[in-house]
């Protein structure tokens, strides 16, 4: 009798576990593309555009400030190619004015990630930021178009300034954004009249003429970095130089922190003198504005998005 009772209990448990298994099999699978499409606009169907969204796994992420306890932070950067051409991009991430390491999916840790994206497709990058210390982290995700594209004329050099970005603020064991700011650059010379908005790499001998292809040879390449603000509000920002998409010093500084009044422009004269290992090399400067600006679910977007300078091809 006791054996029969145990047999019935075991049978019942088996039936119940079968039911639960059936339920888990029947759990609906989420079509991620449908989720992304549901956040698109009509222009994405009719014009040659790219779209960019921040997601938390399959959910649209509305928040832009995160209080964290862990050393890592993971979110999905989803790029939509709504153009008629396949594309290629490089993802870079900056913590304030410093390029940082990150991991995409289960890949290796690196400070850049190149990927291709087919036309009419989405690319979902599960990005993990690692080794985050206590304090305020001003995180800027930046996507640069066609990293292998070398400008052959000044128009292409300007086109390669296109940049897509998302800003989030991370507060680790800290309540608010600190009031302390980095030291301001003092070497920037104010222009009499502003022409540039963002950053621009100019020939030294002809101000405002676009630098797009230079041969290094035995000499260094002199250039002028112009940076300006055409908006009606004062901005603070980091300027970061990229050599083959790796951060490189601007003069003697790892990065520059400076401010610009409305309709103001400044310039610095610099020399490019890095040793070249590759035949073709790429040089570009990024402006990352308002790094201390609070962002939130309600105010998710910066007054001015990050901007890239014209891209310069430097031949060995």
């Amino acid at each position: 009798m006791k054996q029969l009772f145990i047999l019935c209990i075991v049978t019942l448990l088996l039936i119940l576990s079968g039911c639960f298994n059936e339920e888990s099999i029947k759990e609906p699978t989420i079509d991620k593309d449908e989720t992304y499409e549901s956040h698109e606009q009509p222009i994405a169907e009719s014009k040659e555009v790219y779209t960019l969204g921040l997601y938390n796994k399959d959910e649209f992420e509305y928040e832009r400030t995160f209080e964290i306890d862990n050393e890592s932070f993971k979110r999905n950067i989803v790029l939509g190619n709504k153009t008629s051409k396949d594309g290629s991009f490089i993802l870079l991430i900056f913590n304030h004015g410093e390029q940082m390491n990150f991991k995409v999916g289960d890949g290796k840790i690196s400070n850049s990630y190149r990927f291709d994206i087919e036309k009419e497709e989405y690319k979902d990058l599960e990005v993990s930021l690692l080794d985050l210390e206590d304090g305020f982290h001003s995180i800027t995700y930046i996507l640069l178009n066609d990293p292998k594209e070398a400008p052959s004329d000044y128009e292409t050099s300007m086109e390669l300034a296109d940049l897509f970005s998302i800003r989030v603020n991370l507060l680790k064991n800290i309540d608010n954004i600190p009031e302390q700011r980095p030291s301001l650059l003092t070497k920037g010379i104010k222009s009499e009249e502003r022409r540039i908005h963002g950053a621009f790499l100019s020939k030294k001998e002809v101000p405002y003429e676009a630098l797009y292809k230079e041969e290094m040879g035995e000499k260094e390449i002199p250039y002028t970095l112009f940076y300006g603000n055409s908006n009606s509000e004062k901005i603070d920002f980091y300027l970061v130089a990229l050599f083959n998409y790796q951060q490189t010093p601007l003069g003697n500084d790892d990065f520059i922190y400076d401010t610009l009044e409305p309709d103001q422009e400044k310039s610095i004269s610099l020399d490019f003198n890095l040793p070249l290992e590759e035949e073709s090399n790429y040089f570009q400067v990024l402006m990352i504005p308002t790094p201390f600006e609070p962002v939130s679910k309600e105010e998710a977007f910066l007054p001015q998005d990050p901007l890239a300078s014209n891209r310069v091809l430097i031949l060995k």
Binding site: Q41, P42, I43, V49, Y154, M158, D162, I196, V206
Partner: protein, 205 residues
């Protein structure tokens, strides 16, 4: 040989004629102070070839000379809401475009041709474009390039807006040897939607 001479003469005459047309007037006339005080403004509303409403304002001085001209698109159209994310949330119909224009206007005291690069970003409730719609932020950055140089860059970044317009204008007098190139980067941000990045170009000459 005769044909070559004639061709050479024609080219020389054409070049000189071009110089006369676009060059600043002589030093004596430059010394004459151009009256930039605005005495009269005329407005012209029209639908452009893209089907968008445009308002052109021409400012005259007391002598009837044009002091400046502004072309605005969208600015006079009332947005559906200037409020926050509640009404701006969700779907919108974005329209972007670039143009290059040129006109005679007062410049260093004398009328001269000045080239403009214009970038227009607008958001509407639907493809009929009959009603504007505010979204969280619209940014347009416009660049004017002439003879391999950046003549000007302009940006317009607006929150809770249905439009952004940026016009970059020629800063230095020159005879263009290349076409004048305009490029605008348009960004549309709205709560609950993927951000949209759209580039438009235009050229003249």
């Amino acid at each position: 040989m005769e044909i070559k001479k004639i061709m050479f003469s024609l080219i020389t005459v054409s070049f000189l004629f071009t110089l006369v047309l676009v060059a600043p007037v002589g030093a004596e006339e430059e010394a004459k102070v151009f009256d930039t005080k605005i005495d009269n403004v005329s407005k012209d509303d029209y639908i452009d070839k893209e089907g968008d409403k445009v308002q052109e304002k021409v400012y005259y001085n007391s002598e009837g000379d044009i002091v400046k001209v502004s072309v605005e698109k969208g600015e006079y159209a009332e947005p559906v809401s200037t409020d926050n994310s509640i009404q701006s949330y969700g779907s919108y119909y974005a329209v972007s475009r670039s143009s290059v224009t040129a006109r005679f206007e007062a410049w260093s005291g004398a009328p001269q041709v000045r080239v403009y690069a214009n970038g227009f970003s607008d958001s509407y409730t639907s493809s009929s474009k009959s009603t504007k719609k505010s979204i969280d932020r619209i940014i347009v950055n416009t660049t004017l390039m002439m003879n391999a140089s950046v003549e000007d860059q302009d940006s317009d970044s607006r929150s809770s807006s249905s439009f952004a317009n940026a016009s970059a204008k020629q800063q230095s007098f020159m005879i263009p040897t290349h076409s004048q190139y305009s490029r605008s980067s348009h960004t549309y941000h709205n709560s609950g939607t993927n951000s949209v990045y759209h580039s438009t170009e235009a050229s003249r000459g």
